[in-house]
């Protein structure tokens, strides 16, 4: 047997030595193989005995195994064989995890195990560069037995911390019992113990004179030594450090749940070391994740610790919050049997159960009613709620304490008149396991005047209190305010507000006991979130109000309307507005029931196309380029009794589309009017908004508003057209006109130094009668250098001539250009008009409408043809017909002319002829014609052709028509009328 053991030891040594030499030779594969052999040889030795006592022998074997494994995993990891290294580690761990040894020294085992994880984690961390990236692609598949976290050092750090924690538990147990066999037998820690030269062995140095002797230790001595060594270390700090390292890594790896598990463990360790501030901080962060994901059991554990921390930190408020939250949590159990509490597993709170919830609730209620609560872990520590230090808990819409008390507030209407009552329903629900009785409810609104208190009628204290400090607050009583579990308590009251605007219920504060208040933010039933945790429970759905419509649409906000205005605001516009005029809109304010104080009138002009949106015309029309199409010119007082004040300080502000003017104080029966002057620059439809804001009496700040609107069309009043003509029976030859294609351009050609006729027609296109005051052509250029002369020669008299809708007004002007120009500006037509109204104050100068005349082309005409014959003829009596062609050039002009035959006339003179015209001379063709028919007759068709210009002239039909009387007419009329008749006959 001994021989066999010796052989095993030698084999182990040999393998190790060969491996070390192979390492020297850098033969990694060989080294690895021999280390593995050595490790295997060591495994075989576990069951055998050596000269060492059993405890120390196990320690030795573990130490050797650790060293061999360190070598193996280093070699594997540096060779990039991560998967193999991890598999080796698992094998190593599985081989030794059950080798706990005696109970007294089990802490050594856990310590060793923890070290294995720590060492491997550090190895993995240092060789993380060698881990191939492709490794992660096949986790969880049958090809790979590895998972994501197994290649992360954090995983091993976390486990190292776990085993170190195990070691601490064992050590604590051992020290607390203190009756181990070893401590009884030896009782004394041996001195001068040091590691021996052999791995995993310890020895005692004994000085004997000058000699130092190394003596072996007995197991009992060794255990004492190990215990004393272990006590020297502060394991908790090590554990916290390892967990922190793991937690940070997991956070970086985006594994929040593993990170929070580490935080949880870290917090427990802080709790163990009585660092309650840090523990509380960590537990708080951990709980928020569990709350968010609804893991009740995990949250319960953290809250149990937090509860204890609050007691130890002497914070009654925190304690109440945590206890209430725990008491209101649903229990996550699928028919779980009641398991005896284990403090180590579940922490101070134990296992979540219905009875624990009820106990917690009664504990909190007794605390707020004045009893003391003692810590479960340290009996010396306690908290209490006193009158001097009252506790107030605020519950908002994201607070987990909504489960404890949820308040939904619904007004029964959406708006209310000031001063009239409106119903409000307060619905309260609690998920606490037992009914809870509230002593007083305080309802707070954004208008403090509406606040009220509901007191529990059976509570005498409340009555006493109500006589005290809250004299001016309305007090209601309710027979009893008891909140059963998950059942809505509905209270309906009237609320009256005198102040217009928003009335919102802000919060409801429940008072329980003398010095505890829980203040819940009010929620609207329409927008109420589900309760956390309870939304996953299969509860019966209940509604906060009896009326289901109110449950879905009820709001905690109500609009208190303005009082009804009792003032008339009258806006009038009799007709459409005309572009160019300043259109007057009278506005009248007549107080009917209210008096008007500090009134303010706002005028706003808005494009009606914009659908009533309050936008200025500029914004709606991008092409107006900064000019308003419609402009508010002034707001002036009407009536004229105190004209001096009109434009002074009364008008506060006038903009192009907006005006504000103050209204004087008015009594009932008074009347105030003003006129708004608005000018249209372009035809546009405009909405005129007028709003009057005032206070019904001088003291109160509440303002009342009256709004009126009026749509006003803006129209073009007058359309102006014009035509150019030559004098009757006179035709100058205009060469460029002859050359241009007919209809190709709309240019107007005028002959130089000839008189042309300009007829301007103004047409009333509006629906109201207008009066034309004057019409003239205004030159654009300097008067002295006018390149043409224009004279008004005729037309209807312009002195206030009435222009009915659709009617026309004509002005006749003679134009005589003086220079040859291809682009002659003739100025513009100016028409001065006003409405045909007899308003008392409309003695205005009229409106000037201006329209520019187009440029004309002026050119010298080489030939001018004029026809001359009498205005009428008499049947059978000959008359003379001259065709005169004047040559205006310095050239000899050759012309051909012909006169056609007609049935109505016989004539003498050449049918066809030609002739030359000397420069600046006139050529006269004279014919004598005898009319053969009476009536309006066409003269023989004359054609004049200029050979030089290849231009022919055929005089127009109107120009060559003559009236033939059958005999000499006798007119027995007065001389002045004769002309008129003749003129008519001529037409």
């Amino acid at each position: 047997m001994i021989l066999h053991t010796m052989i095993q030891i030698l084999a182990l040594l040999w393998h190790q030595i060969v491996a070390v030499f192979a390492e020297f030779r850098r033969d990694w594969a060989e080294a690895l193989r021999f280390y593995e052999e050595a490790y295997r040889a060591l495994r075989e030795m576990i069951a055998t005995s050596t000269r060492l006592p059993p405890v120390q022998r196990l320690v030795e074997i573990r130490a050797v195994a650790e060293q061999l494994f360190f070598k193996i995993s280093t070699l594997l990891l540096h060779g990039g064989k991560v998967e193999e290294a991890i598999a080796w580690f698992n094998r190593h761990f599985n081989s030794y995890k059950h080798l706990v040894g005696l109970d007294e020294v089990s802490f050594l085992h856990w310590d060793w195990l923890s070290r294995q994880f720590l060492v491997f984690a550090e190895l993995l961390e240092t060789s993380s560069a060698a881990i191939p990236n492709t490794l992660s692609s096949h986790f969880g598949t049958p090809e790979s037995s590895l998972t994501e976290w197994e290649i992360q050092p954090a995983y091993y750090y976390q486990l190292a911390a776990n085993y170190l924690r195990e070691k601490r538990y064992c050590l604590d147990n051992l020290l607390s019992t203190g009756d181990s066999e070893f401590s009884r037998t030896s009782g004394k820690v041996p001195e001068s113990v040091m590691p021996s030269v052999f791995i995993g062995q310890s020895a005692r140095l004994v000085e004997q004179g000058d000699m130092i002797e190394v003596l072996p230790l007995s197991d009992a001595e060794y255990v004492q030594y190990a215990l004393s060594e272990a006590q020297r270390f502060q394991d908790s700090y090590e554990i916290i450090a390892l967990f922190r390292k793991a937690c940070e890594s997991f956070t970086n790896l985006k594994a929040p749940r593993l990170a929070s598990l580490c935080s949880n463990r870290m917090a427990k360790e802080y709790f163990f070391t009585e660092d309650f501030t840090d523990a509380k901080k960590l537990f708080d962060t951990v709980s928020s994740l569990y709350r968010q994901e609804g893991w009740v059991t995990l949250l319960w554990e953290s809250l149990g610790y937090l509860q204890e921390c609050s007691i130890r930190l002497d914070s009654a408020k925190d304690f109440i919050e945590y206890s209430l939250e725990m008491a209101s949590l649903p229990i996550f159990a699928n028919g779980d049997q009641e398991i005896p509490d284990s403090k180590r597993e579940y922490g101070p709170a134990g296992l979540p159960s219905q009875s624990r919830r009820e106990a917690l609730q009664s504990e909190v209620l007794s605390l707020v009613r004045g009893e003391e609560i003692v810590s479960r872990t340290d009996r010396g520590c306690s908290i209490a709620v006193t009158k001097e230090q009252p506790v107030r808990i605020d519950v908002d819409i994201i607070s987990p304490l909504r489960m404890v008390l949820l308040v939904s507030v619904a007004f029964h209407d959406q708006s209310v008149k000031p001063g009239s009552p409106v119903m409000i329903t307060l619905s309260l629900v609690s998920q606490l396991p037992c009914s809870i009785e509230v002593d007083e409810l305080e309802i707070e609104f954004n208008q403090p005047k509406c606040n009220f208190i509901i007191i529990n009628a059976v509570e005498e204290i409340s009555a006493a209190r109500s006589n005290g400090d809250n004299q001016d607050v309305r007090i209601e009583t309710a027979p009893s305010i008891v909140l059963p579990t998950n059942k809505w308590l509905r209270l309906t009251y009237d609320v009256k507000s005198d102040q217009s605007g928003k009335l919102e219920c802000l919060s409801v504060t429940a008072r329980i006991g003398k010095s505890f208040k829980i203040c819940c933010q009010a929620e609207s039933p329409a927008s109420m979130e589900d309760l956390p945790f309870w939304k996953f429970e299969g509860m019966v759905q209940t509604f906060p109000t009896k009326d289901p419509v109110l449950s879905f649409s009820g709001q905690k906000v109500i609009q208190v309307e303005e009082p009804d205005p009792e003032v008339d605001l009258i806006l009038n516009a009799s007709s459409p507005a005309l572009v160019g005029e300043s259109f007057v809109v009278p506005l009248t304010v007549i107080p009917r029931g209210h008096e008007v104080y500090s009134g303010e009138l706002k005028i706003n002009l808005v494009d009606a196309r914009g659908g009533g949106l309050l936008m200025s015309p500029r914004e709606t029309d991008p092409f107006s380029s900064g000019n308003h199409h419609v402009e508010l010119i002034s707001i002036s007082r009407m009536g004229g009794d105190d004209e001096s004040r009109i434009h002074s300080d009364k008008i506060k502000k006038i903009q192009q589309s907006f005006g504000v003017v103050s209204v004087p104080d008015l009594r009932v029966g008074d009347k105030w009017s003003c006129k708004l002057e608005i000018k249209w620059h372009k035809p546009k439809s405009v909405m005129l908004y007028a709003s009057l804001g005032y206070s019904p009496n001088s003291a109160e700040a509440a303002r009342v508003n009256v709004h009126r609107s009026l749509q006003i069309e803006g129209k073009i009043p007058i359309s102006i057209t014009h035509t150019f003509m030559m004098p009757f029976r006179r035709e100058p030859l205009l060469l460029s006109k002859v050359k241009s294609l007919p209809g190709a351009d709309q240019n107007v050609y005028l002959p130089l130094n000839e008189t042309s006729i300009l007829i301007v027609t103004a047409r009333n296109s509006s629906e109201v009668p207008l009066r034309v005051k004057s019409m003239m052509i205004q030159s654009n250029s300097n008067k002295n250098e006018t390149p043409y002369s224009i004279q008004h020669v005729g037309g209807v008299s312009a002195d206030d001539s009435l222009l009915v809708p659709g009617g026309e007004f004509k002005g006749v002007f003679s134009v005589r250009p003086k220079i040859d120009s291809p682009n002659l500006e003739l100025g513009s037509v100016c028409l001065n008009w006003n409405r045909d109204l007899t308003l008392s104050d409309s003695e205005d100068s009229g409106v000037m409408t201006e329209q520019k005349l187009p440029a004309v082309i002026v050119e010298q005409s080489p030939l001018v043809v004029s026809l001359e014959f009498p205005p009428h003829a008499i049947l059978g009596i000959p008359f003379l017909f001259y065709i005169k062609v004047s040559n205006q050039t310095n050239l000899l002009q050759e012309i051909k002319y012909s006169l056609g035959d007609t049935q109505s006339f016989v004539f003498c003179g050449p049918h066809d002829n030609a002739g030359f015209i000397l420069p600046k001379m006139e050529y006269v063709m004279s014919y004598k014609l005898v009319p053969l028919c009476s009536g309006s007759q066409q003269l023989p068709q004359a054609t004049i052709t200029s050979l030089r210009y290849s231009a022919a002239l055929n005089p127009s039909v109107t120009a060559t028509t003559i009236f033939v009387y059958p005999s000499e007419p006798n007119f027995f009329v007065a001389d002045n009328e004769k002309e008129t008749i003749l003129a008519k006959l001529n037409l």
Binding site: G140, P142, T147, P256, L298, N334
Partner: protein, 143 residues
């Protein structure tokens, strides 16, 4: 052999969690199941995974602890099924067939017209059926 089965909703909230060890380790199993959700998130969001594995509901081994192994399965409605085994050497095919039966039981349970989707599963029939499947997975262990 099977220590615990769990159904986790798509908000990562527990819908059903049952331990079969009979020991006082409910909290520990809650922690294990909760931490395994990290791996599910990682696997589902990991774009490196091949198409074949992505389409599959079975997620494989999620999380080995020292004494347990956690396997996962994801339904099309993002409901997660997890099983925690104490046996460290389980065949993949066995786990797959277990999950298929577990999923079928879940589908039957939530098809109940009185069950509100997203709420905890409190059906006794479901619990009985699941424990039946668990027992069938390792006959003799809990017989």
């Amino acid at each position: 052999m099977i220590a615990c089965v769990a159904v986790v909703g798509h908000q990562n909230n527990p819908l059903y969690l049952q331990s079969f060890t009979g020991a006082d380790d409910a909290l520990k199993l809650h922690h294990i199941v909760h931490c395994s959700l990290d791996v599910i998130d990682e696997r589902v969001n990991n774009p490196k995974r091949s198409v074949i594995t992505l389409n599959e509901s079975y997620l494989g081994l999620l999380y080995p602890t020292e004494s347990y192994k956690v396997y996962g399965y994801l339904s099309n409605t993002k409901v997660k099924f997890l099983v925690v085994t104490t046996d460290l050497d389980v065949k993949d095919t066995d786990i797959r067939s277990f999950f298929r039966r577990f999923h079928a039981a879940y589908v039957d349970a939530v098809s109940n017209p009185f069950h509100v989707p997203g709420k905890k599963i409190i059906s006794r029939i479901f619990a009985a059926r699941v424990s039946g499947i668990v027992k069938a997975f390792a006959p003799g262990t809990y017989g």
